[in-house]
Symmetry: D2
Subunit: 109 residues, 4 copies
């Protein structure tokens, strides 16, 4: 079993022990992911990038991974597969010769 | 090398081929993660949970994983480790006997 | 009629001309508000604060106000009233002598 | 002085009494707006639209208005003006005959 499959198994077990699947529809999982992403972002508010607390970043980032993994599980998506596909797409959207050193969006390159 | 390490290697290679590390400070990565999480959420806007398009969910979820992995890399955090620690913390915050079948936050249980 | 009441009337008219109230439950309005806030934030991604385009900020900020006003309308909340109350609460949470010159959250002051 | 101008004056006074303008660059204000929008959204997490607590909605919505107004002030944007312009634009993007009863985005109509 792969690393992400093991994490999903752990998260699903935690969820099912608490009978929480009834709340975990995909829309609310996406809502939860946004809330956790915002809690992570709050660690940087009014601060320079290097001033966030690493331990708290670890905790909030873990929550982001947890909901992202639960969503992947709900849609039966393989994390490695979807990330590799997206990188492949982005190689086309952001060719090295155009995108190198530029922070512009693909539609402005 | 583990699954997440391989994904991080792929993402870092993509980034470095484009000389983008100069933009990827941790605060902007957290901002990017929030933007991608919102793009994922938009697939559910004005809809029931089951009406989102699975292929587009896969794409937006891939972006969420990409920025979450790049952040983990910046802080030298092991994904499996931080998720396991968080689940362990949540076992204490949400004991089965109190949390079972309830969607309440730990401070309202 | 006050300024915000006039704006709400304009937005409600636009919505009702399109028969969109059926989609505008409070939860989806809150989702929409988050999506628009993220689109605003995207104008600052990988950039310094002063590099965002003012015209695009105006457009995205208008969307944020639109959904915030529609939510206020749904709950029959007066914008001036709720903002004044919140400032009053924050005067207590952030007393001048403690908060002056500090970016800390009230629970860390 | 208009309603929104009075609110901005109140918020600016609160900010300046605490010497907080040094933290309030436009990028961090946009970050703060996203965090407050997510806190509002959290009131709906795992719930039906009608189950959010109105008093807490009022509080979080007030925070959203506060940061949106402070951003408008930073860019010297008139709230009524930008919302009216956006509604005018949306009349073109979402013509009544095409958009009526549909939740589709303008590029899918």
């Amino acid at each position: 079993m792969s690393e992400t499959e093991k994490l999903i198994q752990l998260l699903v077990q935690f969820r099912d022990d608490r009978d929480w699947e009834q709340f975990h529809n995909t829309k609310d999982l996406a809502v939860a992911l946004n809330i956790e992403a915002a809690e992570l972002l709050e660690l940087f508010l009014w601060k320079d990038a290097n001033e966030a607390d690493r331990d708290r970043v670890a905790e909030e980032l873990a929550d982001v991974f947890a909901y992202a993994l639960l969503l992947a599980d709900k849609y039966d998506l393989d994390v490695v597969d979807i990330v590799e596909r997206k990188v492949q797409q982005n190689r086309i959207k952001y060719p090295v010769d155009k995108a190198k050193g530029s922070a512009k969006k693909y539609d402005e390159l």
